[in-house]
């Protein structure tokens, strides 16, 4: 009645972007950065941020020209239907593969830290079940939960910063600026893909109530994501030093372990962080699964998005179990991100943007001539 109108606000979009992006990447990010550029790893984050901002501007600009339409629909207007449908399918595959990856890594970590004997299939399927339940609720449910879960992401990061402060060695960042350009170019791709998630703007802007103001919110969201990544990297760097970070598969989790409450509950903190992190992954997964079901729905020009959710679950499940072990998981994902990711995050948005510019010029040209 009052609010069931499939519209979300800019603030909620902001929350969705942050939630979709911060997921498993944040756990291994410090290692990636340290492996790539040592103490100067933070520069990679900054450079990635710049690229992401550019892409966000492009995407938001494109999307807000077509209020109420997802990329599936306005793509057809911009680049003709067959090409646009191929784009949509690429996005669909990308989202599904990414979701499978996220849930697999999540399962591995839960298995390692919380439930070592439980079969990973069970962990994955139970998480997917809850994700499906929520995704059937439409964009509004996704939006509301994302807002609810924002503090769950932000507070632990801030909290860790304060608690780890006494044990941090700020000199660990030295020596600075000893990198070469080659270091940057060979590592920037991996780091850049930690920001994957913001491309959902292409689809969710359709639901935003006031898309004109969207740019401001989206940019702030992306900047906050970068800030969080920076903080986590710096925390790890100051606590462990650049060499040690490279030895840990997930330095962020080891950071959680190092948190030491003076006095009570020394061991407890790690469990609490694990629990909190489950919610973070949940927020990432719902965005991807919902996005994929949305694409299917719009591709088939159906009315109800929620029926497309359940069929996706077995697909994601099976995909997530393909890699044999954790190293293979990361391998598969690098492959997927290099091809699919580049297409989905970089190439397609740029193409769409270019076609928008061309169309605008044409229209202006016609108006001038006519």
């Amino acid at each position: 009645m009052i609010v069931n109108n499939e519209k979300i606000s800019n603030g909620q979009m902001f929350a969705i972007i942050i939630n979709s992006t911060i997921g498993v990447g944040i756990l291994s990010l410090p290692r990636l950065l340290a492996e790539g550029m040592g103490t100067d790893g933070w520069i990679l984050v900054v450079i990635s941020l710049v690229i992401v901002i550019l892409l966000t501007l492009m995407i938001t600009f494109t999307a807000k020209l077509f209020p109420g339409k997802t990329m599936v629909e306005f793509g057809r207007e911009l680049v003709t239907t067959p090409i646009s449908d191929i784009f949509s399918i690429i996005y669909f595959i990308y989202l599904v593969v990414f979701a499978a990856f996220v849930v697999r890594i999540f399962g591995e970590i839960v298995k390692m830290y919380l439930l070592s004997k439980t079969p990973i299939e069970f962990i994955i399927i139970s998480m997917l079940f809850v994700v499906a339940y929520l995704s059937r609720g439409g964009i509004e449910s996704i939006a509301k939960i994302s807002v609810l879960l924002i503090p769950v992401i932000l507070f632990p990061v801030l909290f860790m910063s304060f608690v780890l402060l006494p044990d941090m060695d700020f000199t660990n960042i030295l020596p600075m600026f000893k990198f070469s350009i080659k270091d940057v170019t060979s590592n920037i791709i991996d780091v850049f893909f930690s920001f994957a998630g913001f491309e959902i703007i292409l689809f969710y802007t359709a639901f935003v109530e006031k898309p004109n103001k969207a740019i401001k919110y989206n940019l702030v969201a992306v900047i906050i994501i970068a800030a969080i990544y920076l903080i986590v990297f710096l925390l790890a760097l100051f606590t462990f030093g650049e060499i040690e970070i490279t030895h840990q598969i997930w330095p962020s989790i080891s950071l959680m372990e190092t948190v030491d409450f003076p006095g009570a509950f020394i061991e407890n903190v790690q469990g609490f962080f694990m629990a909190q992190w489950t919610l973070v992954i949940f927020s990432t997964l719902i965005s991807f699964v919902f996005g994929a079901s949305l694409i299917l729905c719009k591709l088939f020009r159906a009315n109800e998005q929620k029926y497309f959710v359940l069929p996706l679950i077995p697909i994601v499940y099976i995909l997530s179990l393909i890699p044999d072990n954790i190293a293979a998981s990361y391998d598969y994902v690098s492959q997927a991100t290099y091809y699919l990711g580049t297409l989905a995050i970089i190439i397609i948005p740029i193409l769409l943007f270019i076609s928008v510019i061309i169309k605008k010029r044409n229209r202006k040209g016609e108006a001038d001539n006519g």
Partner: protein, 392 residues
């Protein structure tokens, strides 16, 4: 599709039932676990096996094997109605610490639980063997159960002796050791090291200063440290030497006492604050590193019946000078030992150069082991006495 509404709750219930009936893979009651609080690792020598710890078949038999000693509290002895031995000690042999632990399953009716481990004690023999040390530390680091905050110690002699101590202060060895680490760490004659710090130090420089413990008759003394170079124990630093090293590493906590004699009066100087800075430069082709230590402290004891009063700035300044001279000599003695005898940079000179003077570091980093001996190290101390207690 009203069916959907019914399907969801049904699936939910099915799911719950499956979880409960088929699941609980990880469930294990809390009182069926053995909360291991301390582990000791030694090299297994067959003749010493009085307790018959070796049992069962072993997979391969050419290499040296480990003997691990575990201690865990006796649950039944806790609480008001507790009775029986307050703790258990068991040992087990294996080619790797993991094998030894798993072997215990054939003998123990409880599940070994390592998440509450407090202390890891490495026997001297093991520490002197760099391969073994590397293996052990990797297995511990890789293990998700063992927290990075446990204390790692080196035993002078066998770790087994440490674990077997029945101390009158605290029954559980693990708690005892972590307690000692905390209190002895204040005195700077012993520096508690967590697993995390140890690994960082080893990964960075392949060397470390590990705290050492000495077994007494019914207590354990934490004193001095073991010098680890290239993953191998090569020597010890005594208590005073350890303190000097702590000074140079800027890890002095308060409560350290430096004893000086002034005019035949023994004066304990109680440190409240201390900070150390390094400065490095190249002079005549040699690297010169200066350590500048600034400290503040209290004067805690004088002598009744002396003519001089302590409430006199000139007297205090004289005492300060005594402290400075005394301490400087101790520190320089230690520096000589590590430079000439051990040739290992445990005082983080290399670290400093790497961070602050990368140009100098680049010239020496390839052969730092030897270059370190050529560094000209000097120590300048500025000690201040701030408070003298209640009386003149």
């Amino acid at each position: 599709m009203g069916n959907m509404r019914k399907i969801m709750p049904l699936t939910l219930i099915l799911f719950l039932v499956c979880t409960l009936l088929a699941g609980c893979w990880d469930k294990s009651e809390i009182n069926e676990r053995a909360f291991v609080t301390a582990v000791g690792i030694d090299i297994y020598v067959k003749e010493d096996d009085k307790d018959g710890e070796e049992s069962g078949e072993q997979d391969t038999d050419s290499r040296e094997r480990y003997i691990l000693t575990y201690t865990f509290p006796n649950i039944e002895a806790i609480g008001k109605q507790g009775s029986g031995d307050p703790r258990f000690v068991v040992g087990s042999v294996g080619l790797s610490p993991i094998e030894a632990r798993w072997e215990l399953r054939t003998r123990l009716n409880k599940v070994m639980f390592l998440q509450h481990l407090k202390a890891l004690i490495i026997g001297e023999d093991v520490a002197r063997n760099s391969d073994m040390l590397k293996e052990i530390l990797d297995s511990v680091e890789r293990n998700y159960e063992i927290s990075r905050k446990i204390n790692v110690l080196v035993a002078t002699g066998e770790a087994k002796d440490i674990i077997n101590i029945q101390s009158k202060f605290e029954e559980d060895v693990g708690m005892y050791l972590s307690g000692i680490s905390e209190s002895a760490g204040r005195s700077a004659r012993f520096n508690p090291l967590t697993l995390g710090d140890l690994i960082i130090s080893l990964h960075n420089n392949q060397n470390a200063l590990m705290p050492s413990v000495i077994p007494g008759k019914d207590d354990i003394k934490g004193a001095g440290s073991a010098v680890i170079k290239n993953y191998m124990l090569i020597g010890w630093l005594g208590e005073i030497e350890n303190r000097s090293a702590m000074f140079l590493k800027d890890e002095i906590k308060s409560q350290t006492i430096v004893m000086v004699t002034y005019d035949d009066i023994v004066i304990p100087y109680l440190l409240t604050e201390s900070s150390t800075k390094q400065k490095a430069r190249v002079e005549d082709g040699k690297i010169k590193v200066d350590f500048i230590i600034e400290m503040e402290g209290d004067l805690t004891q004088y002598k009744l019946g002396t003519s001089e009063s302590v409430l006199d700035d000139k007297v205090l300044k004289k005492v300060e000078t005594k402290v400075e001279v005394h301490l400087r000599k101790q520190i320089l003695d230690m520096v000589e030992k590590i430079q000439q005898d051990y040739k290992v940079d445990v005082i983080n000179v290399g670290d400093y150069l790497k961070k602050f003077k990368p140009s100098i570091w680049n010239t020496v980093k390839d052969d730092w082991e030897n270059e370190f001996s050529n560094v000209d190290i000097d120590v300048k101390i500025d000690a201040k006495i701030r408070r003298i207690g209640l009386t003149k």
